[in-house]
């Protein structure tokens, strides 16, 4: 069984994302693992959208620079992606809008005959694809019936017309792995948070995490979640701290600009020790930048945002499995150590779709901080050996619970005494150490490739997708630190021991992971950086790596 890629493209508003997802499910059903990349400009209608669905026997996390099928709902799809077309590529198109040789379907005519709306053109071309790829009609029927919210019958009709107009063209052999769920990174984060015990989610929409808000709002009722979208990100963050103070495990989600507005609340969380999780979806910056394109340029901002010093957890998952695991762990660690935790992701991960085999059963269990004893002697900031104070929430009988943004004493009363200020700083440092210890047994670094190779590729976040595919091919061991704060320096050094040549691959211009590694005495021999908002394609990364290594 071999791998294959399908590109479907059309105008913004044509529903390319959903169409891509249907194709993903078709291929999933016949035994493949799926990765889907969706590319769209920041506008509602009119621009060019496309999705690339890659199907392989093994999970992949990046696209290739060639496609086996190209489904063109507009001329741009062919014109803009000529470089992806090979001799073997099957072209399927809407003959009314596209000039091409291949399977050309008069979609508007069919829609008219069937009395179907324009948006069902997708189903028609998908029908044609199904046939061309040799996928049994029953598979399409099943996928449609599971994944179309409405108009099933009409969609099937229209698809059937497409199906009938095509012929077995480039039959894809079926695999035998049973179909896995297909999840976006955002959904994996959401489910991971749920797994970690999420009670509430507060967010103001911002690409690429808006869909996390939408997803959690959708499942709020059955998951028993409070989901709230307030006036702006300042309110989001402060609401999260109000909820946390009252005992609700809360996460927020945003992107760079919104995160800026949360930094004052983040520092507050550092000071008042109310746990909170922040999902920070990176996109191409600075400022508004390219809202729907990807980037990895907020690492140091995430590491250092907020005035003053306090421990924080920063994790950067590279795929939905890590996203699930580390979203669950981030929430639990935040509550165990009463620190803010950031889940640093990016557009590629958040809005990409992946076959997902749930790690739910294997996520290590981490308990909340010890509960305090209610009563008049409760002190919210009790100085303890590990810096972690027992927790109680308002409403506890006979107990006064004071949290405070000022430097405070154990009871939470403001102080400006030099000694108490030092003690509280040292408490926070101890908490940070405790968090570091708490991470010792967790999979803070992901590895792939030949671990005895003397060539090491280091990457982080979603770039791990392309890296873990290309790196091993080129003889690299691939190291992806998932936890970036507290940075697991010792484990990292151990993992890279014996390295002769180190390349750091990042989707930014300044080499932010490299800057972080430098702090720990690690020097890269070469860097591969990309900053045009598009994730690395497999071939592109391979070529770039071959340029820089000896």
């Amino acid at each position: 069984m071999t791998e294959m890629s399908v590109l479907i493209g059309g105008r913004a508003g044509d529903g390319i994302n959903s169409a891509g997802l249907i194709i993903a499910h078709l291929l999933s059903r016949i035994g493949y693992r799926i990765y889907m990349y969706f590319d769209y400009p920041s506008l509602i209608k009119g621009g060019h959208n496309f999705a690339i669905i890659r199907a392989s026997p093994e999970m992949k996390g990046a696209c290739r620079r060639e496609v086996d099928f190209i489904l063109a709902l507009n001329q741009d799809t062919l014109d803009l992606h000529r470089d992806l077309v090979r001799d073997r590529t099957t072209v399927i198109c809407d003959s009314s809008r596209v000039k091409a040789t291949g399977i050309c379907i008069p979609i508007p005519g069919i829609l008219k005959e069937e009395g179907a709306p324009a948006v069902m053109g997708n189903s028609c071309i998908i029908g044609a694809f199904t046939r061309a790829a040799g996928i049994p009609w029953a598979v399409l029927e099943e996928v449609f019936s599971r994944h179309l919210r409405k108009g099933l019958e009409l969609n099937l009709k229209v698809a059937r017309r497409g199906y009938e107009m095509a012929s077995d063209h480039s039959v894809i052999p079926a695999g035998d792995s049973p179909a896995l769920p297909i999840l976006s990174g955002n959904e994996a984060i959401g489910l991971g948070l749920l797994h970690g015990g999420l009670d509430a989610y507060v967010a103001y929409p911002m690409t690429p995490t808006s869909n996390l808000l939408h997803f959690l709002a959708d499942i709020a009722d059955r998951a028993g979640l409070l989901v709230f979208h307030p006036e702006n990100e300042i309110a989001v963050m402060l609401m999260a701290l109000g909820l946390g103070y009252a005992g609700k495990k809360t996460a927020v989600g945003t992107s760079g600009g919104g995160f800026c507005l949360m930094t004052e609340g983040l520092s507050l969380a550092g000071a008042n020790e109310v746990p909170v999780v922040i999902v920070l979806g990176q996109r191409a910056g600075p400022s508004t930048g390219m809202p729907t394109y990807t980037g990895q340029s907020d690492l140091h901002f995430a590491l250092h945002a907020g005035q003053g010093e306090f421990p924080r957890l920063v994790v950067a998952p590279g795929d939905p499995k890590q996203a699930f695991t580390w979203s669950s762990l981030a929430l639990r660690l935040a509550w165990r150590y009463q620190v803010p935790a950031l889940i640093l992701c990016d557009k590629t991960l958040c809005e990409g779709y992946y076959s997902f085999s749930s790690p739910a059963a294997s996520v290590p269990r981490i308990d909340d901080a010890p509960a305090g004893t209610p009563g008049p002697s409760y002190r919210r900031y009790l100085l303890t050996d590990d810096g972690v104070s027992p927790l109680l929430f308002p409403g506890s009988p006979g107990t006064v619970i004071k949290v405070n943004s000022y430097t405070h004493d154990e009871a939470g009363i403001t102080t400006e005494a030099a000694e108490m200020a030092s003690l509280m700083t040292e408490k926070r440092i101890r908490k940070g150490k405790a968090l570091e210890n708490g991470l010792l047994d967790l999979p803070v670094i992901a590895q792939s490739g030949d671990t005895s190779s003397d060539k090491t590729l280091v990457c982080w976040g979603s770039t791990a997708g392309a890296c873990s595919e290309v790196g091993p091919e080129l003889g690299f061991r691939v190291i992806q630190p998932v936890v970036l704060s507290p940075f697991p320096a010792e484990k990292f050094l151990r993992a890279t021991r014996g390295t002769h040549e180190m390349v750091v691959v990042e989707e930014n211009a300044y080499g932010q992971l490299e800057m972080l590694l430098n702090r720990f005495g690690v020097r890269a021999d070469a860097s591969v950086r990309k900053y045009d908002g598009r994730p690395f394609a497999v071939e592109e990364l391979r070529a770039r790596l071959m340029e820089v290594v000896s």
Partner: protein, 283 residues
């Protein structure tokens, strides 16, 4: 619970003559009488901003969230959402609630979040030593405006009425008894309660004489009449020399945010089951 119990041992550092003392005791007594009326003292949560007013969090021996400048309201809204059994009170400053964080106030009113916001409106930034605020009179010579401000104050009551607040009142620290009354009423009100308290700042804007002269208690005013409330609110524009009414300007009962949100429904099955079910749908 005795009166003493409500005051912590924290050293009080308000200036002598500061109106905050009056608010402190009026609030304490309002809480005390609410407790006598059945309120559970453990269910009270005080949220403060940053400023002289905010020291209330240190001084009152009740649950408190000493927040940051301008952000009492979102914190309080969320605490109430988290646990509708809690009784959430904000002590905010005028710099705090009217400048730095005005939007939150408008939104809490719009949502009818069942919290009580007491604005210690001394019409000056006290803690940062005397700059103008949105309710300082025009021409106010503060440290950032030595030549006098070039703008008129706004009228927070009008803005709150326009924003949908369901309880709008004004108090004054020169009228302790009346102040306690509106605070108690605000706490008891089911819905968003807004209380603008004209507070004497002894150090940077001592309006004692003005308030002693101009302040009078609303009488014969129908707090259910929105138009009358607007008219009364406009009687004094925080600038000119006119009578200043205190008391409850407006009160109406509407569904609160928390009532409308409802407590999140009990989950069907365990979290693991929910996750498994959702994953199943994604196949």
């Amino acid at each position: 619970m005795s009166a003493r119990d409500f005051i912590t041992d924290a050293q009080n550092t308000w200036c002598p003559g500061c109106g905050n003392f009056v608010i402190q005791f009026a609030l304490r007594d309002a809480i005390r009488s609410a407790i006598e009326g059945g309120l559970d003292p453990d269910s009270i949560v005080l949220v403060t901003g940053i400023g002289c007013h905010a020291k209330m969090a240190d001084y009152l021996n009740i649950n408190s969230f000493y927040s940051i400048h301008g952000r009492t309201v979102p914190v309080a809204t969320a605490i109430k959402m988290a646990d509708p059994d809690l009784q959430v009170i904000c002590c905010a400053g005028d710099g705090d609630a009217y400048a730095e964080g005005l939007d939150h106030l408008v939104f809490a009113a719009k949502r009818n979040s069942d919290i009580t916001v007491i604005v210690h409106n001394n019409r000056v930034y006290g803690l940062t030593t005397g700059q103008y605020t949105p309710t300082s009179p025009s021409g106010f010579r503060g440290r950032s405006t030595p030549g006098g401000t070039k703008e008129e104050p706004f009228n927070p009551l009008e803005i709150m009425l326009a924003s949908g607040a369901t309880f709008v009142a004004r108090g004054c620290t020169r009228k302790r008894k009346e102040l306690e009354g509106v605070i108690r009423e605000g706490i008891m009100h089911r819905g968003f309660s807004f209380i603008d308290v004209l507070q004497v700042c002894a150090s940077y804007f001592n309006q004692t004489d003005v308030y002693d002269r101009a302040v009078y208690s609303l009488e014969g005013h129908d707090a259910a009449d929105f138009d009358a409330a607007c008219r009364k609110a406009r009687e004094w524009d925080y600038n000119s020399d006119s009578p200043i009414a205190i008391g409850t300007f407006f009160r109406v009962i509407r569904p609160t945010l928390e009532e409308r949100l409802g407590v999140p429904r009990k989950k069907e099955g365990t979290t693991e089951e929910t996750i498994a079910r959702i994953l199943g749908e994604r196949k």
